[in-house]
Amino acid sequence: MSDEGYVNYFEILELDESAKPGEVRKNYKRMMKNLVMEIARVEITEERRAHYLLEMAKLNAAFYILRNTATRETYWSKRQEVVALEAQWREAVKQGSPEGDAKRRAFDGQCRDFLSEYVEEAMLAAGRDPDCVEASHWDPAHERHASRILRHYRHDLYRRILERLPYVEVTPPQIDWAEREQTAAAILAETGN
């Protein structure tokens, strides 16, 4: 089953789940240094600024969460929990179980909470951590710019998860893309819009 969309900070720092705190620090320092050097090399456009801010925020959050055993374990157990809830709901839908709606609501709440906590909140909190500030030169101006970018990122992750989930609000659509293209052509041939 796919766990895509539930931000994986081990992957971001190119580590496996058994990595020691020392490895977390080493990889974070190396990757942040490379990122800062890359930023210094290129011309900063609006699009690149958003990209680099997000990359920086991801690295900061990964270090902030994974360097400490307690925060790392809490993060990983919450992630596992939400992944399991998704699987349970999908199974309930597959079986046509009457518990499907309750499982969906439980999953949806948990999923939103997880993404809020570990995408927006953790990334912004990491930006205020002295170690992260020292390595990334993150400042209040970054935070102001980043809040919208992080909200976008959170919604993007949520959308990626949503894409593979069973339809709830509507019945599963039968989309014939050839028919869709013809309809679009017919609409464009009209002169109304």
Binding site: E47, D101, R148, R151, H152, H155, D156, R159, L162, E163, Y167, V168, E169, V170, T171, P172, P173, Q174, I175, W177, R180, E181, T183, A184, A185, I187, L188, A189, E190, T191, G192, N193
Partner: protein, 366 residues
């Protein structure tokens, strides 16, 4: 509880009323009314105390003229199919949030696009999870039309594709992206022009077209798609876009000419009185005791705003005529700032949009 039981006993909902209310919402591309039919308090539910007979729900039912409309009849036929009516009834009878029938929602999305109700269409497509791909289809067909030299069709396609955009950073939930020209115009004029050539309307043709498309199209992807096209095509595209987006552009053209004449008159009157007036701003400053320079902005807008700050006029202008913000500039006059018409007299963009016709319409250049 007794009240609810009583309602259950006596309420009888006519399936034809449900079908015609749904068909009306579909035909009009109205997702709000469509969803309302399935809400817990909907007059279509037997458990609800609301009823289609109530005058406040009269708007849900089609009028006589609409009932004869072939599009409405087509929608009604879709809804009234036996299996569809059975499904709708079962969803309305179930004690849980209803699942909307995707087939009807898809038809609603198509009608919404036809009616130019892009936010309704975007919401329907988002629910069906087909929005990004539908956007791509419209972009691709619009690009093909532009390749074939059909600018009008290309603009129609881009208007629909950009209209289907979604704002995932909207608060508290993602929502269809909506035009916010009143904010974008303020951002465009946020810095006071230090030199006359800093004004948006004084740019050369190509940068001017780029600025205009970035400002008007709202979607960076749409602008990027147009970037490689020849400048004549992009100019024709921009002209067609403004014409379609702002049906009252002709009114603005007249107002713009009047504002230009007014601004020129300020300058000319003072030329006679004050030989050493260096520029229009200085001239206007001298005259402000007798003439209020804010009347130029009022002429641009076609009415006066109480307070009359430049940014108030700019926001109103951008809201009523989005493209107008490209041909104005801020100007300090004494201790106030005003909004002036500002464009190059040889500007291909201004000429294409009808802002240059006749010598009287020439904007002051200083």
């Amino acid at each position: 509880m007794a009240k609810k039981a009583a309602a259950l006993d006596i309420k009888n909902v006519d399936p034809h009323e449900i079908a015609s209310a749904l068909a009306k919402a579909m035909c009009e591309g109205d997702i709000v009314n469509f969803r309302l039919i399935f809400m817990p308090f909907s007059p279509a539910r037997k458990t609800s105390t609301e009823s289609f007979d109530m005058p406040k729900y009269a708007y849900l039912q089609p009028g006589d003229t609409q009932q004869r409309d072939p599009r409405f009849q087509q929608c009604l036929a879709m809804v009234e199919r036996a299996e569809m009516m059975n499904f709708i009834q079962s969803e309305l009878d179930a004690n849980r949030p209803a699942q909307l029938p995707s087939e009807l929602l898809l038809a609603l999305a198509d009608h919404a696009v036809r009616e130019g109700k892009f936010t309704n269409a975007a919401q329907a497509c988002e629910l069906l999870r087909i929005r990004p791909r539908m956007q791509q289809i419209f972009y691709e067909q619009a690009d093909a039309a532009l390749d074939a030299g059909d600018v009008a069709k290309g603009v129609r396609g881009y208007r629909i594709a950009t209209g289907l955009a979604y704002d995932y950073a909207a608060f508290p939930e993602p929502l269809p992206a909506t035009p916010d020209y009143q904010t974008r115009a303020l951002v465009m004029h946020a810095d006071y022009p230090q030199d006359i050539m800093d004004c948006v309307g004084m740019q050369d043709t190509e940068p001017m077209i780029e600025t205009a498309l970035n400002y008007l199209l709202l979607e960076p992807e749409a602008v990027a798609r147009l970037e490689k096209r020849p400048v004549e095509i992009r100019l024709a595209f921009l002209t067609e876009w403004v014409r379609r987006q702002d049906p009252r552009w002709d009114t603005f053209k007249q107002q713009y000419k009047e504002a230009c004449a007014l601004a020129t008159a300020f300058g000319k009157r003072l030329e006679g009185q004050q030989e050493d007036a260096k520029d229009l701003a200085g001239a206007i400053e001298e005259q402000q005791q007798s003439d209020d320079p804010r009347s130029i902005a009022a002429a641009l807008l076609g009415r006066t705003i109480g307070g009359g700050e430049w940014w108030q006029y700019l926001k109103e202008l951008a809201c009523e005529h989005p493209a107008s913000a490209l041909f104005v500039a801020r100007q300090a006059v004494g201790d106030i700032e005003i909004l002036l018409p500002r464009r190059r007299s040889d500007s291909a963009v201004a000429r294409a949009l009808g802002l240059c016709a006749g010598a009287a319409s020439d904007a002051p250049s200083s």
